[in-house]
Every structure is written in structure tokens, then in C-alpha cells.
């Protein structure tokens, strides 16, 4: 809604004030030495980060009320150096950090290293203009603090151990507004352009969640249980979906090819064409995407070699 003038923005702020007060008392910011003014600034920054400039008061208030204000206040008070906040943080999360580390790294020395390094980041070792900057200052309360810590550590782990390439924090990347692009030195396999277009079309028509499932299962080699856990649904739901998606994609592509004037037989052949080359190609793409050791070739082999159901 671009009709919001300066006037209505001011009114908006006024209307939000009571909500903010309410949230401040809920956040218990006072107990950890976070003033109301600081809290207001934090909220404002968060709404600027996640909402378009045209967001309505309702949008802002909805966002505010969806935040984990208590954890937000704690994290930001820690970042600001409040001792009381650190005490609470340590009590609640110190042990957890190591637990998360061993869950993610699965190996004790790597786990410890991971946790210690995150802990250092949280405490703030890097300096910006001579000031200690804690990673906790970037926590916005969108998800739980525990979940955020897990995510940050997972990110660190993926960057450090899996990609084996220069560590660039996603924060930095998004701060710079960098566009993510997977390096792709592989020569692109030439297939019938009609087939490629039909495939792209069929994939694009799928909901994001379905494409996520396909990619997780077929590209990452994740188990049905892992995917189900991530999406918070039952394993059998994912199993059915994977099955159904493969069938319906095949069907749709064949139908699209038929529309271009291909015979059914031709279309079917086109889909299975260059299987051997393609498999090599996919495997190289897969291994490029992730550490070879973590997902050995046999995985790609196995999934590529499976008979159709």
C-alpha cells in the first residue's frame, strides 16, 4: 500500500506503541539491562529487515507478536555486554552448544571445535571499529534462540567442513546482497531442447515444497525420515509424495512432448536418452555439490541404477 504518507506512518507508530510496551514487559528486557528505547530500536530494525517499506501497521504488529521477544532481549542484552544476560545465556545454552555440536559434527573433536568457535563468535572476538561485535546481535527472534544457534552452527559446519572452500558467512553474503550461484564448470549435456523445456516446465509447475522434497531425496540422497523431520510430517507422507511426484512428472513431460508433435515412443526414448552420459554428468554434479566422502559414489550409483517402479 503505497498510499501511506508521513502522517499515517506517525499514526502507525503511535498505535504500535502500546503493543511495543506490552512486548517489552513480556521480553523481561529490564531484568537483563535492556532499556525500552533499545528494545524499540531493535524491533524497528527487525521490521525494516523483514517487511517492505509499504507494510501496514497490521503487518508490523503481526511480525512483532510473532517474535520470541524474551529470547530476543536476552540475545541482544548479551551482545550489549550485560553480565546478567550472559549468566542466563550460559546457564541455558552452554551445555546445549556442545550437544548441538556433537549432533551436527557427529565426531567429538570437530564438535568441540565447532561449539568453541561459535561460542567465540557469540561472545564477539572480531572487532568492528574497535568494538567487540557479538554474533548474537544479529539474532532477530524469528525462530527460537536454540534453533538459531543450531542453524548458525550448521551453517558454520557446512561452510567449513563440507564445502571446503573459503568461508563466507551467509550474513556477509546477504549484507552485500550477493547473488548465490553454484559454480558449474561442467559441460552441459546436450539433450533435445524440447525435452529440456518440457522438463523445466513440469518442474516449475510444482509447489516449492515438492521441489524441495525431490531435491533432498534425489540430489542430496537424504532419507525419507530426514526429509519428514525437516518438514514436520510423517515419513509415509514423504514416501508417497516421492513416488507420486516421479510418476506425475514423467507423465507430464510425456504429455508436453506429445504436444510438440513427438510420438509417444519418441518421447519415451527421449526421456531415457543418453542415460549413461547423463548419469556420469549427474554424479559429477552431485559430488561437486557436496563432499565426496560424505556421500560416496555408490549412493548416486544406487539411485541411478534403481529399476523404475
Amino acid at each position: 500500500m503505497t498510499s501511506h504518507g508521513v502522517q499515517s506512518v506517525a499514526e502507525m507508530a503511535l498505535g504500535l506503541e502500546s503493543a511495543v510496551l506490552d512486548l517489552y514487559s513480556k521480553s523481561k528486557g529490564e531484568q537483563v539491562g535492556l532499556t525500552k528505547d533499545q528494545f524499540v530500536v531493535i524491533l524497528k530494525n527487525i521490521s525494516q529487515k523483514y517487511l517492505p517499506a509499504t507494510a501496514t501497521q497490521q503487518d508490523i504488529s503481526d511480525l512483532y507478536f510473532s517474535l520470541r521477544v524474551e529470547e530476543l532481549a536476552l540475545a541482544r542484552a548479551c551482545a550489549a555486554g550485560s553480565e546478567r544476560a550472559w549468566e542466563i545465556f550460559m546457564l541455558r545454552y552452554r551445555e546445549k552448544l556442545y550437544d548441538i555440536g556433537s549432533y551436527i559434527a557427529k565426531e567429538s573433536s570437530a564438535a568441540r571445535e565447532l561449539a568453541d568457535s561459535l561460542y567465540a563468535d557469540l561472545y564477539g572476538t572480531s572487532t568492528r571499529e574497535g568494538q567487540r561485535v557479538s554474533k548474537l546481535a544479529s539474532y532477530t527472534g524469528r525462530g527460537s534462540l536454540g534453533g538459531w544457534l543450531r542453524t548458525v552452527m550448521a551453517q558454520e559446519y557446512v561452510n567449513r567442513y563440507r564445502r571446503g572452500r573459503k568461508y563466507v558467512s551467509l550474513d556477509e553474503e546477504s549484507e552485500e546482497g550477493a547473488q548465490f550461484a553454484a559454480a558449474d564448470p561442467e559441460p552441459v549435456l546436450t539433450v533435445d531442447s524440447r525435452l529440456e523445456a518440457a522438463t523445466d516446465e513440469a518442474l516449475a509447475a510444482l509447489p516449492a515444497e515438492d521441489r524441495f522434497i525431490l531435491a533432498s531425496y534425489h540430489l542430496d540422497g537424504r532419507t525419507l525420515a530426514e526429509i519428514a523431520r525437516t518438514l514436520g510430517v510423517h515419513e509415509s507422507t514423504i514416501s508417497r509424495k516421492v513416488e507420486k511426484l516421479a510418476k506425475s512428472l514423467r507423465k507430464q513431460i510425456l504429455a508436453a512432448l506429445a504436444r510438440t508433435g513427438m510420438s509417444r515412443r519418441q518421447a519415451q526414448e527421449a526421456m531415457e536418452v543418453d542415460v549413461r552420459d547423463l548419469r556420469v554428468n549427474i554424479r559429477s554434479r552431485l559430488t561437486q555439490e557436496r563432499d565426496v566422502a560424505a556421500f560416496p559414489d555408490k549412493k548416486a550409483e544406487a539411485s541411478a541404477g534403481e529399476g523404475s517402479g
Binding site: 553454484a182 552441459v188 525435452l195
Partner: protein
């Protein structure tokens, strides 16, 4: 599993080139917490579908299921047992089978479902297991199922509310375990019409009031009885046979349980919602102690966890699906402890709740010690048994109890 044509995988992979900006850790965390609105969730999924890196992160960051495990006997974790109605249906069915097992032999001898205790006791003199069972029933004065004719099924639950303990006792004392088990075994071959199986009150050391409350639920699930055939047959086979094996145990169990009224062991822990619990304390105890092997078969382990937003969740299928268990008010819970069916959760503002029936009913516990009331956030709850527990608060107070939360001591 259906094989995906290679080309589709290639195109999926190719889509990664147009990945776009990575969501920040906050958004990814909110995604794994399932705290995002629909639009943002789709945006994140859209990115994840293209970005293997972020898929890795999200997968690693999805919390492993934290489990406060409770071992409960003999429920299969099959899909249809998941809904509450179905669970109660299973319970009703198990009780019903015991009822049938107990009464069918007698029904074939007498035309009336109710016979006298005297005659039963006379019968029982020559039958050792049965005599022991009589003793057990007498000591415990628990309710064994009342019996109903097939035609009475519709009103069975309602009637069972009115059933008197004495009637039920007679029924139990008439039971001949050996025959009962035979009948139960026969069920899978030539089953009684399921409609003829009445729902009956669960046998437990609980008060009559509680039993009635359960009955109301069972009434609602009467229709489900027939669905539960499979489990019913299994249960019925095991329980009476074990009673024969372990009569001494059955004798001891009731007095112990009757004294405390508390949940004593894991096997009995979930009595309101599990089969063995529903059959009777003796049965359950015998099952757990003397024949742990058979009890282990097909066990489900309810797991407990706290969601990141502080709600209590329970899984009855080894963590595949989680259901939020409503406790009370708006408390945000940070810690939980599970000892058998005894669940304690603590959280914001000193809120502490206890359930003694695996989450069905909750009581608020307000720890206070010499005029001091616990109002700080509880961040740790530990219970080593039903009585001994320790709370840790955000401001590092330690509160302990040695009497299941009746009184508290603090540092």
C-alpha cells in the same frame, strides 16, 4: 521407489543456478521451528529447492528428537492407533476381550451372566491359579469388568458406570485363566462377533470416579472396538496366560498398589491409555515382571519433548509424529521430566505442572518454601523417581522435593 528420470534430476540440479539470495539464519531457524507464515515459508522452500547448501544447513539444524522415554507395554505403533479415539478404542477393546475371556466360559455354562461368588469360590478350590486370583481380587477390590449380553452393546458403557464392585468381583472370581486364554486364542480363528464385545471399565487401582471418567471416553469410542481386532487377539492371549505363570506376583501387587495409589512401574505407567494397564494391575504387574519378554514385544515408547516455543509435545510412534499436549494457560515450558507416566513440566514464571497419567490430566504445583514462592522461570526439572525431584530456576535457585511435590526445600 519410483525412479526419477535422469533428465529431471539434471534439470532440478540446473535450477540451482538461479538460486538467489540465501535466507539468513533467523529465517532458516524459524523455518525449522515451523514458525514462518505461509508466504515466507514458501519463499524459503523455494530457495531450499534450489540450494543444496541451505538444504544441508536446514537438515543439520532440525533438532533431533529429544526423548524423555516412557516404556509402556504392548501397544503397536501402527498408524491407526494414533488418534485419541482410536487409542481409547483399543483400550476398550482390550478390556472387552478380557471380559469375554472371563465370561464366555461361564456364559456357556450358565444362562445368566451373573453367578454367585460362593459357587465360584467352591469351583476354585481345586483350581490354584483361580484361587489366587480370587485373593488378589479380594485384596484389591478393584473392578473387574461387568458383563453384558450382545444385545446390550449400545448401552454397555452407560451401564458399566452403574456396575458395582461386587458384581465385577464375582466375574473375576469366576474366571478360569486356562480356559480364558483358550477362548482368547480361539478368537482369532472363530472370533465372537465384534459387536457383541461390550466396553467395560478398565481395571485399575484408580478411584471409581476416575474409572467413570474413562468410561465416558470409552463410550465415545465404542464404535472403534471392531477395528482393534488385531491387537485385541494378541493381548488377550498374553495376559491370562501370564496370570497363571505368576500368581504370587499377582497376589502381591494389589496391596502394594492400593497403599500408594501411585503408579508403581513402567508397565502400569500408562494405565489409562494402554492395554495392560486396562486389563488389571495384577495382569500388568505380572506382565512386566514375570514375562517382560512378551511385554517388550510390540511396545511403544511415548516420547516427550518441548517445542522451541515452549509447548509440550508427545509422540506415540517413536518420534515420527508429535502432538501438542495442552497443559494449562500460556506457560512457556523449558524443562520436562518423565518418570513412567509421571510427567513434570516447568517453565516461565515458576509454572510447574504434573501429570500422573501421561499427559491426560494436569495439576499445577506451586512450590513454596518457608514463605518463599517460586516465581522465577524454571529451566531444569529432574525427577529420579516419583517422589524425588529437583528444579533449577533461571536465577540459579535449586528447589527439591522428596514427596512428589507436596513440600519443597530451596537453597
Amino acid at each position: 521407489m519410483e525412479q526419477l528420470p535422469k533428465l529431471i534430476r539434471q534439470r532440478l540440479q540446473a535450477a540451482a543456478k538461479q538460486g538467489g539470495r540465501h535466507p539468513d539464519p533467523d529465517l532458516l531457524a524459524a523455518f525449522t521451528d515451523r514458525a514462518l507464515g505461509k508466504t515466507e515459508r514458501v519463499q524459503v522452500l523455494e530457495h531450499l529447492a534450489r540450494c543444496g547448501n541451505c538444504r544441508d544447513i536446514v537438515s543439520l539444524a532440525t533438532p533431533e528428537l529429544e526423548a524423555g522415554g516412557i516404556v509402556t507395554p504392548a501397544l503397536r505403533s501402527s498408524g491407526w492407533l494414533r488418534g485419541p479415539i482410536l487409542r481409547w478404542g483399543g483400550l476398550a477393546a482390550s478390556v472387552a476381550v478380557v471380559t469375554v475371556a472371563v465370561t464366555v466360559p461361564r456364559l456357556s455354562r450358565h444362562s445368566s451372566p451373573v453367578s454367585t461368588t460362593q459357587s465360584a469360590q467352591t469351583d476354585s478350590i481345586t483350581n490354584a491359579p483361580q484361587a489366587r486370583m480370587d485373593e488378589a481380587a479380594d485384596k484389591l477390590s478393584v473392578s473387574a469388568p461387568a458383563t453384558y449380553r450382545a444385545a446390550e452393546v449400545d448401552s454397555a458403557a452407560a451401564q458399566s458406570k452403574q456396575a458395582k464392585f461386587s458384581d465385577r468381583k464375582k466375574d473375576v472370581s469366576n474366571a478360569k485363566p486356562s480356559r480364558a486364554s483358550k477362548v482368547a486364542e480361539g478368537r482369532s480363528v472363530s472370533p465372537m462377533p465384534q459387536a457383541a464385545v461390550p466396553a467395560s471399565p478398565p481395571l485399575s487401582a484408580k478411584s471409581a470416579d476416575e474409572a467413570q471418567a474413562q468410561l465416558k471416553k470409552e463410550q465415545a469410542s465404542d464404535m472403534q472396538v471392531s477395528v482393534s481386532n488385531e491387537v485385541v487377539a494378541v493381548e488377550a492371549k498374553a495376559a491370562p496366560a501370564e496370570l497363571e505363570i505368576a500368581p504370587g506376583k499377582a497376589k502381591d501387587a494389589p496391596s502394594r498398589d492400593a497403599q500408594t495409589g501411585l503408579v508403581r512401574n513402567d508397565a502400569r505407567a500408562l494405565s489409562p491409555r494402554t492395554m495392560a494397564g486396562a486389563i488389571s494391575p495384577q495382569f500388568a504387574d505380572a506382565t512386566s515382571t514375570k514375562n517382560a519378554e512378551s511385554a517388550t514385544r510390540g511396545r511403544i515408547v511415548p516420547r516427550w519433548t518441548l517445542s522451541s516455543d515452549g509447548t509440550l509435545q508427545r509422540s506415540l510412534d517413536s518420534g515420527r509424529t508429535w502432538a501438542t499436549i495442552p497443559v494449562a494457560g500460556n506457560s512457556v515450558f523449558r524443562a520436562l521430566a518423565a518418570v513412567g507416566a509421571d510427567i513434570w513440566v516447568g517453565g516461565s514464571g515458576g509454572s510447574l505442572y504434573r501429570s500422573m497419567d501421561a499427559g491426560e490430566h494436569w495439576l499445577q504445583v506451586k512450590p513454596a518454601s518457608s514463605g518463599k514462592v517460586l516465581t522465577d522461570d524454571i529451566i531444569g526439572v529432574e525427577f529420579t523417581d516419583a517422589n524425588h525431584g529437583k528444579l533449577t530456576t533461571a536465577d540459579e535457585q535449586i528447589w527439591t522435593t522428596a514427596d512428589a511435590g507436596q513440600t519443597w526445600q530451596t537453597n
